[in-house]
Amino acid sequence: MISVSNSTGAAAGIALRLVAAAVGGYGLAYTATAFLSVWLPLARTDRVMFASLASFAVYTGAILYAFAARSPWRACWVLSALCGVLALGAFLPGGFGARP
């Protein structure tokens, strides 16, 4: 349970989880959309549409994870690592994502 606590450690932990949820969550939604828009085995319009429509589920899941993770730092690095992997998969193949 998250409560208004006197302990600065707890407050910092909540602040960290908030950042992980808001920033990390959007980052994960963004990179996941980009990744799926490149790699889904579909036509280009469908890849973009389905990937984009899924992005809110990813964002919601990431926010829930940021508060469920065992520690605030863990939430930060897990989300960052996932973003990194997805971004590599999405932006490295260059023009491949633009196939029709």
Binding site: A43, S52, A68, A98
Partner: protein
């Protein structure tokens, strides 16, 4: 800390922080289910049943005299829910000009914000793109609150049948919150998700960036399968009949579909194009299959092919949210479930208060103030808008702005009143009493100000769309009056000492 504990904290805070914003969005969205009926209610000259409506050619002539050089003209024929023409134009580089025309006489109707006011409040809080982002953030937090609510819920089925209104205040609010939350859960999940989906391309550009190198226009054209023809800078020959083109479009669709939006692009040019969109209220997915003609020769230029699966899914989600399918019963259901969502928010905030009143805590005054300002203020302001609509003279310049001012003034007054230490213990009662007066007064006022559309006339005519607005107002007034009386009686005896619950102390 267990998963359920961390989710309980998340649920409490994610829910509380956006409660008042979500209340505004859900309340306005619920009213917007009947935006067209409200618009008609707010236009007394539309109350008597109309005769033979104006033809599309007459509307085009109307547009031609007012904006011969417009970039494009738009019009939408009257339908069962909207017995008036919509017409407008887009000047080159200017702002879109929109009018409502009386279906029979073709006179522009007195300016009024109509039911559109609540529709716009619902999706962007009348704050444009920034408002859309605020609403989107609230919707994401609504998803978070709903899913974390499911996770902390141990006995979703039993709790549904548990309501103890005579129990302690906290227990009663918890039961109410659970029942409303479980009852509306599938609907609220769907609405939050599909609402976000409507503007997905604005919120999430990653796909267009990697698959279209950021070319959003190209993406739009490809997914919507739209078609355009550039102007060629030569004057236009006389156009063929629009009504004839509508018949031809209906023949092309061949499924009994009727014409919705009709546009004429660069009407003064030899390459002018008439596009007719299909209107389909019988399906969730309205694919608006557009047929385009040459405005001068009437030659068929283009028939929009069906959407790809991705965009069809998007259109299905949009259609599910917008509730234009399925008729008045479906919209009535949306209205009730939307209001159930509002009550879920109210009970959630009351639960938060009931718990903290027992043990004291930060922010109690702020939360109580926000309750009075928003949960009471917004419905009162909405009623004030309807009062202004009935009272303002129809010829007043900028009439629609005065309607909005009445809304804003009443809401501001509610906020100021909530901030001042006046009759604080009786605030809710006073607000309910005022709401009852305003709601019950409107059907009476209509007897004087809308002689062809007040309840007596509309009921005698069997005009349920119009009578429905007044009947809902009467019901609202009655409920407010009853609650205000009940609150008066409950508050009379000395309050029982609040009880703390060991369980579910989120």
């Amino acid at each position: 800390m267990s998963l359920r504990q961390s989710m309980a904290g998340l649920h409490t805070w994610a829910g509380l922080l956006v409660s008042w914003l979500l209340f505004t969005i859900l309340f306005a969205g619920s009213l917007a289910c009947f935006d067209k009926e409200l618009t008609r209610w707010m236009q007394p000259s539309l109350h008597p049943p109309a005769g033979q409506p104006l033809s599309a050619d007459q509307v085009r002539d109307w547009l031609h005299t007012r904006a011969p050089d417009a970039h494009a003209w738009w019009m939408r024929p009257p339908g069962p829910r909207e017995p008036w023409w919509r017409a407008g134009w887009e000047p080159d580089g200017g702002e879109f000009q929109a009018f409502q025309l009386h279906a029979v006489t073709g006179e522009p109707l007195p300016k009024s914000v109509g039911g559109d006011f609540f529709f716009t409040l619902h999706y962007d809080l009348h704050a444009g793109l920034n408002g859309m982002y605020v609403v989107a953030a609230a919707a994401i937090l609504m998803l978070v609150a709903l899913i974390s609510g499911v996770i902390i819920h141990r006995r979703i089925f039993q709790d549904f049948f548990t309501l103890r209104p005579q129990a302690t205040r906290q227990r009663a609010w918890l039961d109410a919150h659970n029942v409303l939350g479980v009852l509306g859960l599938p609907f609220h999940l769907l609405m939050a998700y599909t609402g976000l989906a409507i503007f997905v391309i604005t919120y999430m550009q990653a796909g267009i960036r990697v698959a279209y190198q950021g070319d959003a226009v190209r993406f739009d054209t490809e997914v919507q399968r739209s078609w355009e023809r550039e102007d060629i800078g030569q004057p236009a020959p006389p156009p063929v009949s629009l009504d004839g083109l509508i018949v031809q479009a209906q023949r092309t669709w061949g499924d009994g579909g009727t014409a919705g939006w009709i546009s004429v692009h660069h009407p003064a040019d030899a390459a002018a194009v008439v596009s007719i969109r299909r209107r389909d209220d019988s399906r969730i997915t309205d694919d608006q299959r557009t047929v385009s003609f040459d405005a001068a020769s009437g030659a068929l230029l283009h028939v929009q092919p069906p959407y790809d699966p991705g965009y069809r899914t998007f259109a299905w989600m949009t259609g599910l949210h917008m509730a234009q399918y399925g008729g008045q019963w479906v919209r009535g259901l949306y209205l009730l479930l939307g209001l159930a969502g509002c009550l879920m928010l109210v009970s959630g905030v009351q639960l938060w208060l009931a718990k903290r009143e027992a043990r004291g805590g930060l922010g109690l005054g702020l939360v109580r103030g926000l309750n009075a300002a928003v949960l009471g203020g917004l419905p009162l302001a909405s009623l004030a808008l309807l009062w202004a609509n009935r009272l303002l003279p129809s010829g007043l310049p900028g009439r629609e702005h005065w309607e909005v001012r009445a809304f804003l003034f009443t809401w501001t007054a509610s906020i100021v009143w909530a901030a001042l230490p006046l009759r604080r213990d009786r605030r809710t009662r006073d607000q309910l009493l005022l709401g009852a007066l305003l709601a019950l007064g409107l059907p009476l006022l209509s007897v004087v100000r809308a002689p062809q559309g007040h309840l007596g006339v509309s009921l005698a005519r069997g005009d349920w769309a119009l009578a429905g607005v007044d009947l809902v107002l009467l019901a609202t007034g009655a409920v407010c009056a009853l609650l205000s009386r009940r609150l008066g009686r409950v508050q009379a005896p000395a309050p029982t000492p609040p009880q703390r619950l060991a369980e579910e102390s989120a």
